[in-house]
């Protein structure tokens, strides 16, 4: 321990000794020595790197360099600027993409040669840019200097994304896209590299140092896809911070800092319309009514009907039954298929039962409806549902399919859940949410326990024109049709 402490204090003054956190177990002196030699230059480099970093965080007022458009090849002298990836005032790193230019069917990504801040764009979009003439002016950080023309490390052109986070086995590793590419090209796992940048960010130097440590040079990737370090993996870099904490009496615990940024986007298009609809729905005084339905008989019936429908080319789910039973119920309680006008003066009883089915698509929640369910057979409802589902997943539902609904059912149970609190879609006055079908123990008439297929339903209705009793009676009727599907035969037209 003492030896280590001595080393560490020596570190500060001499500036050339091994940084403490690279010292392994003290018991093996020989071990320490070899590591000492290996890491010797790296730590010195790191130290000076940290000093450099500290300096660069201060306000920089460096020189302005004119970055000229380099040779495109094939004797091309002029190109059209098609897209700027940066704007004046943005900071860029070496290899970040600056713009996209086009010349005669070739699209060229121009990347920055320097780290710095963009001070001037010499061309607007669709203007002609000339090879050899300035493209942008970059203010370079005085302390960093101008990067060499030919780069030792090959890192390819990059998009202009901000520093992205990468989840590797649950650890967030910070590294710029350019650094990431470098790591990937050399088959290095970022989780094994110690970052020396801000917030443990991995810098290009860290990758280079990691490589130098392993092989002494930057090699093309080996078929084995792993660069074998001189030490067994368990003792390499990731354990370093732990060692540090154990050996060094001086607390160096850095607080875990999450440097993700909030992202604000405007609400547009369909979502904006939904905001309006839902705000209006809020004005409707909702009341809820829930119940559980025993679908044991219906499950059996559907199993029998499925192959028959398949022969006719239709996929049969439970929804056609739910929809038809609802329509039969609406015949007895037409107030649930009505609409209240804006001034709440008149109630319109809709003749058609256009029952909407909530669908989850790429756009979000879409509610196409099956028209005139009161005159459709269960098979017809099933085939219409198939058509709507196919159009919905292709994003091709038409306005006719999406408008004119009078009553809605939402089968949220296909995703999950039991009870829900659905929101009525204006101008309708009622909605039902169906939970998932669960197998639960229930008592039958003889007091015996049996396996029942139970589904929960949650109704919401407009209390201005619908009362609890009406909703309860409608629900009971709907429930009786589904619990005993044969009873539907009596009332089918």
């Amino acid at each position: 321990m003492a030896a280590v402490t001595a080393l560490r204090s020596g570190c500060r003054t001499a500036g050339r000794l091994v940084c403490a956190h690279h010292v392994r177990s003290c018991s093996s002196i020989r071990f320490v020595k070899s590591k000492y030699v290996c890491v010797f230059d790296k730590s010195a480099f790191k130290f000076s790197r940290q000093q450099r970093l500290f300096r660069t965080s201060a306000v920089s007022c460096g020189q302005i360099v004119q970055f000229k458009l380099s040779d495109i090849g094939e004797g091309i002298t002029e190109v059209t600027v098609k897209e700027w990836y940066i704007k004046e005032g943005d900071s860029v790193s070496q290899f970040d993409s600056i713009c996209e230019v086009q010349s005669d069917k070739a699209s060229v990504t121009i990347t920055s040669r320097y780290d710095g801040i963009i001070r001037k764009l010499h061309y607007n979009l669709d203007e002609i840019a000339y090879v050899g003439k300035p493209l942008v002016d970059i203010e370079i950080d005085a302390s960093k200097g101008v990067a060499p023309e030919e780069d030792v490390v090959e890192t390819p052109a990059m998009s202009h994304e901000e520093h992205t986070h990468q989840e590797i086995k649950g650890h967030k590793t910070l590294a710029t896209p350019a650094v990431r590419r470098l790591a990937m090209e050399n088959n290095i796992k970022l989780s094994e590299v110690v970052g020396t940048g801000k917030d443990n960010r991995i810098l290009k130097e860290d990758i280079l140092n990691y490589l130098a440590k392993q092989t002494g040079a930057i090699l093309p990737p080996s078929p084995k896809a792993e660069i074998i370090p001189p030490l067994p993996k368990s003792e390499t870099v990731p354990t370093a911070p732990k060692d540090k904490a154990r050996k060094i009496p001086v607390p160096v615990s850095r607080p875990v800092v999450f440097s993700g940024k909030d992202k604000t986007e405007p609400i547009t298009g369909f979502h904006k319309a939904m905001v309006k609809t839902m705000s209006a729905a809020l004005k409707i005084p909702h009341f809820g009514y829930c119940d559980e339905i025993d679908l044991t008989q219906l499950v059996q019936l559907r199993e029998e009907m499925k192959p028959l429908a398949q022969i006719r080319g239709i996929k049969l789910s439970f929804m056609p039954f739910f929809i038809k039973a609802a329509s039969l119920g609406l015949l007895q309680y037409p107030i649930l298929n009505a609409s209240l006008d804006e001034s709440c003066q008149n109630v319109t009883y809709k003749a058609s039962h256009n029952i909407g089915v909530a669908m989850d698509t790429e756009q979000g929640l879409i509610v196409p409806n099956v028209k005139n369910v009161q005159v459709c057979s269960i098979f017809e409802i099933a085939s219409e549902l198939n058509r709507l589902q196919a159009l919905g997943s292709a994003g091709q539902l038409g306005t006719n399919d999406l408008t004119g609904g009078t009553f809605t059912l939402s089968n949220i149970g296909t995703i999950g859940g039991t009870y829900a609190k659905p929101v009525i879609l204006p101008p309708e006055v009622a909605i039902g949410a169906l939970g998932k079908i669960q197998i639960l123990p229930r008592f039958n008439g003889k007091g015996e326990v049996f396996k029942a297929q139970i589904m929960n339903v949650s109704w919401s209705a407009d209390h201005r024109i619908i009362d609890g009793a009406t909703m309860a009676r409608f629900s009971n009727l709907w429930k009786s049709y589904l619990e005993n599907p044969a009873s539907m035969l009596l009332d089918l037209k």
Binding site: I72, G73, E74, K82, E83, F95, E100, Q102, S103, D104, K105, A106, S107, V108, T109, T111, L125, D126, E154, P156, A157, R181, M184, E185, P220, P221, S222, P223, K224, A225, P266, T268, G269, F270, K272, A273, M274, K276, T277, A280, S339, D341, E342, T348, E362, Q363, G364, I366, A394, G395, Q396, L397, G398, T399, N400, L402, T403, L425, P426, P427
Partner: protein
């Protein structure tokens, strides 16, 4: 197939032949020919991106052979509304992809082969590549009258275009790819590459239409496989490598780490439509309602694929002005997309007074608006 004598090369080559998972990045010096196992246009474009971004091409060049199931591929800076019939493509389930290279719009199907030549930026040379293709075709069928134009097209009988070219240059690497029509469906091609959208004004790169012909029409014994093989053989000869084609699966993350993210990005709306340069739509259409015909004038500015400004000129009082302005306000900022517009307009209708006539007028107007997209 003769393995090269040097031990180092031998080892590396055998690595590819026996252990595809080892990664083909370690190809023997000189060249590498790879062929995609997939016909998905997005996966294949992602492979191009991957090679461009991750492979070290200092000492070797790569030829990538691929074919796609029906798709329309537009150039980096093009406007899909200007270039193709999006409505027809949706109906026929033909995909739309935007590639990263420049150039014009092409139609791909399994009767078309795609060739991508990867080199370092310094060795980028399109004419040489196309001459290689012509040489290979002539070796296969000497009677073919084909030549390369200075626009980098390959013409058959000095008239018909059988190949188009595009290229992408990065900081250190570049690729040049071209199509080759063997036995593509010319009827679908011409239908799908005809834009029905009127009144578009844009600075996007326009395509130059050309008469096309399939090589199959010239010689019915030709198949895509034969063409691919002939070109691979010529490439192998010129680069002094084995005529061996490595097959790759463009969804295999072990060989191509990060490839699935690349193909996902190519499929996003933001890339395919959102990268369209700013354009404006200024058009009018007729609507037939009951017994009258109405003239409607529409002006829209679209930026990043979203409607920036929108103006609809309707006959006065046909629709309540409040409703009309509600529609216009909602369209601003919305995607220039029929699905989005339909969803938006049908949701807005819930807020309108419950009047059947009003509803049918609204639906009629919105349907016509979506026809523009």
């Amino acid at each position: 197939m003769v393995l090269q004598s040097s031990f180092k090369n031998c080892l590396q080559l055998s690595c590819i032949l026996r252990t595809p998972k080892a990664g083909f990045r370690d190809a023997a010096n000189g060249g590498l020919i790879i062929q995609s196992l997939s016909n998905d246009v997005y996966h294949n474009l992602a492979v191009e991106d991957w090679i461009h971004d991750h492979m070290n091409l200092e000492n070797r060049q790569v030829l990538f052979l691929w074919r796609n199931s029906p798709a329309v591929v537009i150039g980096r800076h093009q406007n899909p509304w200007q270039e193709c019939n999006l409505k027809l493509m949706r109906q026929k389930n033909i995909k739309l992809a935007r590639r990263r290279s420049g150039g014009g719009t092409v139609y791909h199907d399994l009767g078309n082969i795609n060739l991508t030549f990867f080199t370092t930026r310094k060795k980028y040379e399109r004419m040489e590549n196309l001459k290689l293709v012509v040489k290979a075709l002539k070796a296969l069928r000497p009677q073919l009258n084909i030549h390369v134009t200075d626009r980098y097209d390959i013409l058959l009988d000095r008239q018909y275009k059988i190949s188009g070219t595009a290229a992408k240059l990065g900081r250190t690497t570049a690729y040049h790819h071209c199509t080759l029509l063997c036995n593509a469906d010319k009827f679908v091609l011409s239908d799908v590459l005809k834009s029905p959208y009127k009144g578009l004004k844009s600075n996007a790169t326009p395509s130059v239409p050309a008469s096309v012909k399939n090589l199959f029409e010239e010689d019915p014994s030709l198949t895509c496989e034969m063409l691919l093989d002939a070109i691979a053989e010529e490439y192998a000869m010129q680069h002094q490598i084995d005529h061996h084609i490595t097959l790759i699966n463009p969804t295999d993350e072990t060989v191509l780490p990060g490839i699935n993210n690349k193909s996902k990005e190519l499929q996003t709306w933001e890339w395919i439509y959102g990268k369209t340069p700013k354009f404006s739509v200024s058009t009018c259409f007729n609507m037939v309602y009951k017994d009258s015909v109405l003239d409607v004038k529409v002006d829209m500015d679209v930026k990043h694929g979203r409607i920036e400004t929108c103006n609809i000129d309707l006959p006065e009082q046909w629709l309540p002005p409040a409703l009309c302005s509600e529609l216009v306000k909602s369209l601003s900022g919305s995607k220039f997309c029929p699905t989005e517009t339909t969803a938006l307009s049908s949701t807005l209708l819930r807020m309108c007074p419950q009047d059947d006539e009003l509803h049918s007028k609204w639906n009629l107007l919105c349907e016509n608006m979506t026809m523009l997209m």
